[in-house]
Each structure stands twice: as structure tokens, then as C-alpha cells.
């Protein structure tokens, strides 16, 4: 199991009021913000990997085969995210940030669903899954707010702002239907979690790349 980051991720202050004295406030550098963002994204991916391992370890091998639904069916695949290094490096800082923001926002609702599902999931490790899902939901929201702040700092004019239409919609899981069996619940849970695991890896890579880019003065930190 992947080791989880033990440090607590920071929480951005929602209030716009700065906490320092009048006129003598030092604005937080973008590099510091990106550093904090990188820590949160790292934790997101680590948690989701651990949850996937919890889920997979208790399944029979035969079932694993059936469960491998193609992840191209993830609801976030409509977002055209880059697929290799060259494509990523071509993107600008703001574009990358926008993409990250869109991804994070797309996962708000599904994560809440996962939290709800984990409570009654017919799985021996559903307690561990429950608190992981709750943590994932909270930290995704947290990171989304932070990325917004960074975007505001980098692009105050809002030139690169995106509309909420771009956010991938999520149709919902089978849990809402009556009479859905245990197996479909499990399969659906597994699929959603796998989608999120991949997306969290993307987000983590992008943010860390942005962090390295921002610290041009200190190439050693990359």
C-alpha cells in the first residue's frame, strides 16, 4: 500500500480579508501557493491509491477481470487532457491551472456519492474506505479553492477564465435505482474510484510541474 502523506494539508482562508496589518502586508508568493497545492494533490493521489488497494485486495481474482471496465468511460474523459510530456510542456501555466481546476470541480459531486456509497458498501474494509472517501472529498474541495486563488493571482483580468459548462457532468450511479444488487454497487464503486485515481495522478503531475516551473530561480528544488 502506498504510504500516505502524513502532513496535514493547508486550508485556504475563504475570507478575502488579509490577516496582516494595514499596508504592511506581504502578499503570499505564487510559489508558496503552488507548494501548498502540490502537497494537497500528493495526498489526494496517495489516498485514492490506498483506497483502490483496499478494495482490490478482498476480491477474488476472477472478479477482477470482470471489473476492468475501460476507464475511457470515465465522465472526465471529455476534458482533453494531455497524454504525454510534450503535450503537457506545450501548455501554458494558466491553461494547466484551468485544466486542473476543471478536473477538480468535476469530481465534487461524484466524491460525495462515493462517501455515501461507502457507508453501506458490502465490503469488509468499508470503514477504512469511508473515512478515505470523506477525506478525498474534503481535500478536493480545498484544492479547488486554492487553484482558484492561484489563478486569480496569475490572471487577475480573468482572461483565461472558464465557464462552468466545461465541467464534466456526472450522471450518477446505479445506487439511485431501486433493486440494484450488491455486485453492481461494488462494480460501480470500483470503477468510479479508478477514474478518480487516474485523475488525481494527472492533477498531481500538473501541479508539481507548475511548481517547478515557478521556481526558476532555484532549479535545485525541482
Amino acid at each position: 500500500m502506498t504510504m500516505l502523506v502524513t502532513s496535514m494539508p493547508p486550508h485556504w482562508v475563504t475570507s478575502p480579508q488579509p490577516l496582516c496589518g494595514a499596508g504592511s502586508c506581504q502578499p503570499i508568493l505564487v510559489t508558496d501557493l503552488l507548494d501548498r497545492a502540490a502537497k494537497v494533490s500528493h495526498r489526494l493521489h496517495a489516498l485514492s491509491t490506498a483506497a483502490s488497494n483496499d478494495l482490490n485486495n478482498h476480491f477474488a481474482p476472477a472478479l477482477k477481470l470482470v471489473m476492468m471496465r475501460p476507464l475511457s468511460l470515465c465522465h472526465t474523459s471529455s476534458l482533453n487532457t494531455p497524454e504525454d510530456k510534450e503535450q503537457v510542456l506545450q501548455l501554458s501555466q494558466e491553461d494547466l491551472l484551468t485544466m486542473v481546476a476543471l478536473l477538480l470541480k468535476s469530481w465534487g459531486t461524484p466524491l460525495l456519492y462515493l462517501v455515501k456509497e461507502a457507508q453501506e458498501l458490502p465490503h469488509p474494509a468499508n470503514d477504512a474506505l469511508l473515512w478515505k472517501m470523506a477525506e478525498l472529498s474534503q481535500q478536493t474541495e480545498n484544492l479547488a479553492r486554492g487553484i482558484d486563488k492561484i489563478l486569480n493571482k496569475l490572471d487577475p483580468t480573468g482572461f483565461h477564465s472558464f465557464s462552468n459548462d466545461l465541467i464534466s457532468p456526472w450522471s450518477g450511479g446505479p445506487g439511485l435505482e431501486m433493486g440494484s444488487d450488491k455486485k453492481s454497487h461494488l462494480l460501480n464503486f470500483h470503477f468510479l474510484l479508478s477514474c478518480f485515481r487516474r485523475d488525481s495522478n494527472k492533477i498531481d503531475s500538473f501541479v508539481k510541474l507548475l511548481r517547478c516551473r515557478a521556481t526558476k530561480m532555484h532549479p535545485e528544488s525541482c
Binding site: D84, K85, V88, L89, K202, R211, C212
Partner: protein
Amino acid sequence: MKKVFSIKLFLCKLFILLHILMSSGQTPPGRPEITDCRSPEKETFTCWWVPGSTGGLTTKYSLHYKIDGSQENYECPDYKTGGQNSCYFNKSYTSVWNTYTITVTATNNLGSNISEPLYVDVAYIVQPHQPENITAEFTTLDQKPYLMVKWNPPKKADTKSGWITLQYELRIKPEKALIWENHFAGNQRQFNIYSLIPGEVYLVEVRCKPDHGYWSEWSPTTYVQIPHYMRVRDTSIWMMIGILSAFICLLLTWAVAVKCNRMKKYLLPPVPVPKIKGFDIQQLKNKNSEDLILALGGHGFFPTNSTELLIEFLEVDDSNEWKIMPRMGDYNCQEEQRNAFKSLNDKDSGRGSCDSNTLLPEKCSENKFHNHACDNTVEDHSKQEINPRAEGTQTLSLNNTEDVTLLDTGTIKGKTNTWPSVYLAGNKAQMSQFPSSDNKLLETPVKNLNSESYHITHMVDQTEKQKGSGEPASSGTADQCYWVSTNEATHLTSSKPMEYVEVEKVNQQNILIVKPKSELSSSIDSSRQEYTKVSAVVNDNVLVLMKEKGAHCNHDHQELTNLSDSHSLHWQDGKLVNGSSVLAVQVSTNLAPSGYVDTSAFLQPMH
């Protein structure tokens, strides 16, 4: 019939064919298995498989893959780069965050076999190469030596752009150690190691790992030699040793200085000097007379019959001036002297000559027992003495605090002698009249003698002390007679003043009752001759000697009392003119040169 025959033929052929096949061992290939796929930099990746059984025929392997979402089956673009039974996907064929479904097919003439599919996402299979260019340098910073280890990330991993972020781990051990010491270095590219053993050769290795991937292999070992340097620990240890030894030396010096004398005695034991054997000061303090007598080699308790009294005498050195220890009341004096004797209380003869009960005054210029204070107090208590201190006088004073009487010979002519007090075990019948614990008559044989010696016995009287400055001869109920022995065998006028008076007992008022020799002749040695019984002492300087045989002390005492009261005695030259059988002796005038009462001078004329 034909059908059956053809069927049979077919079966036979089949059987033969199978038999041929079986005998040669050729089968379709076994199922291959894909072991793993790895990407060193998240841009390319390689997959390896393990073949199953070959089936005896040449088997060909092919790898096919599908990318997530499309059903197209692609074959491996490169079978060689990765080695045997491998497939290498270069950059153009690699896309991240897509699921690859990879299968391997083994084919031979007889058939083929497909492996289990493996689902691969490049982002999850990153395992970088080893770190490169590892350097270990020994440096000192502020006199603190340490080893600075530096390294570079593997070349292929693109950390500059931030595509991959690596974390490093370092391990180090001395050359001959068995266990590595691991250190996690985080994202940094150097690490400092402290607490090194000087003169040792160390082995250093580094490895790295991407954020969410696998650890690389350990780098090739780097050897580094630590020069010989002085560790702070060594320096501080030497300092501590130095301080500790200095402290111990000081302690020893102080101890030696304080206990100088004792150490001298221990290291250089004094010359043994003969001492009185069996003489135990402590025992003297005991109130058990029988034990004491036995310890001293006595013959047990004295016989009831006074005529059988056996007394051993203490020979002491004489001087013209000798003074008996002051009486009680002079507590300090007694205390000191007693303490002095206490220190001599051991039966070994390992004491210095100064310390032993020697009577040789020359050895001790500084006499421990000589107490100037005592001298002074003696004069203060002159009342209590029989005879005040004067030349040629003999004074006997009875004092006692704990049944110990210390005699102190004052020095006038520079001669000082001391001898321990002597208990006289008294006559049993006589003792019964007194508290038994108080009255003891004892004698201690003295080995150390000089030419001038005399025997003196005296008795310690506890009650005397309690009375304070008791009056010499005024009152008293019980009678106790001193024996003062005189040696009549030696002529009175002879040069040898071996004369003594045996005192049988003394009463509370210091009345020495001297018995004549004739009474004792039956039980006493011929060497012991004249005994004169002193019945009373009057006026501090007169010994009233009793001449008559068998006179009772009580009776005598009464007479003496009457005598003193009536003053009917006439004194002339030591003679008491009286009709009674009591002889009074004025001690002062008739003192022999040895200082003893010469009663024979008085006896003869009276006869």
C-alpha cells in the same frame, strides 16, 4: 463391414499419429506469462515475459496490446531493445494516463497459447534508473568533521522540467560492518553524515524513487577513506580522565595529610616493647573482682582468713617526690588519665615504649599521664590527702570514680612515674561490710622494675568519693584494714630500702591498718616479713599502727576515734606514748628514703 473397417483404419492412423507425437514430446506451447512492465522516466516503457513450456518445437512469441477505449490490436514495435522476451515501447508508442491491455502469444507448429492479459497504466509503473555521479567528500565545518555525499539524478529522468520529481535514499556502512545505515534524503541531492570513525573506510550507496512509483536499484558502491582526526568524544574523554585523576590525587593527598600519624603507625609499626601481660585496663573497670583476679593470674578469691591473705605486690619505681593522684572532684584530671589508660587497653605488646605501662621515665619526656592540671588540683584538694605534697612525703589519696584510681606521681625532681591503679581484692568477710561492687583489693604484678621498688597496695574506695572531701579520720562506721607490709628481713638500717608495710585494709577514713608480721608468718612467705597493721591515720600525717595481735579493727577504730578526740596521745618522734596497744606513727618524720613507712623503727622500741 466396410464402414467398420474404415473407422478402425482411421482410428489406427490417429493412434499412430498421436503415438508418434507423444514419443517425440512435441506439444503446443505452454502458456507464457508477462512478468512486468516498467517505465524509467514516464515516457517509455518495457514489458518482459516468461515463456511456458516450449513443447519441443521452436516457439515464436508475439506481444499484442490494446489501448484503452479502442479495440485495435497492435503488435509490439520493438522486441530487441529490451532484451530477450521483451517488448520496448518508445516515446511515440507511449501515452500516459491510458490503460494498455497487453498479451503475449506463444506459437509453434502445433498450436499457440495466449498469456493472461496485463493492464498497464504508464503513470503507475515508473521505476527510474540509479542515481549517478556519486561523490563522498570528507570536510570539516567549525572543527566538526563530516562526510558530504553528493549525487545526480539519473540522466533520463527529466526532473528539470518537473515532469518527474524524485526522492533519494542513501545508505552507508564501515567496510567490515554487516548492517547498512539508511538515511532518507528527500528531494535534495546531497547529504551530510556525522559521527564517523576515524581511519575507517566507508561504503556509500544511493537510490531514488518518483513520487508515486518504485524504488530504483542501489547505485554502484562508492568507497571513501576517513582520515585520522581527533573526535570531540575522544578529546572530552581524555579531559575527563585528566580531571578525575587530578581529583583523586588531591583526595589522596588530603587523606594522607589528615591521617598522617595513623599511616605512619600502619606503615612503620613501632618497636614492640614488653608490656604487662594479662593486664587489662578495661577489666579493671569491671566490677567483677573474681574475673579480674583470675585474669591477672591470681589464685581466685582471697581466703576468708586474713592470715592466708595472698597478695602480690606491684613494684613501682620510687622517687623522692611522688604524689598520689588527687582525689575525686578533680574530674577532668581523672578523666584524662583514665582516657590515657584506655588507650593502652590492648594485650599486644605492639605499643611504643611511651605508650606502655612502663616505669622508665627517661623514655618519655613528654609524659602523657603527667597532668599539670592535676598537679594544681592536687594542691587544691590537699585537704583530702593524707600528706600534702612535700619532699619525702608519701601521700595516699583515695579517690575513685569508677573503681579506678590513677596514681600520678608528681614531679619535683623531674622524675615522673605512673602506674595504673590497682584493685585489691579484700577479705571476703571484710568486703561484705561494704557494697560489694565498690571494694576490691587487687594487686597487679609488675614486671618492669628498677632497683628501688616497693610494694604498695591500696584500696579503692568508692564511697570515699561520694563523700566528697571526706574527713580523714573522723568518722566512719565500717572498718577496713589496710595491710601495709614491711619487710623486716632486710634490716631497717640496711642500704636496701626494701621495706614495705602491708596494709590489710583501709576504712572509709583512710585508716591504714597495718598488721605486724608475726600474725602473718604462718601464711606468708618468709620473704615477706614484718607487717604492721595500721589502725588509723590521724591528722593527715600520722599512721596509727596496731601492734597487738588479733586486735579487731572495729575495736581499734573506736579506740582511735577516742584517741583523736581525746588528744591523749603524745607524740614524740613518731612514737605514741600511750598505754594502749595502738601505735601511732608519724609518717612524715619516719619516712624511709624510699618513701615508705618504716614501722620496724617503731616496733622495736615499743617492744
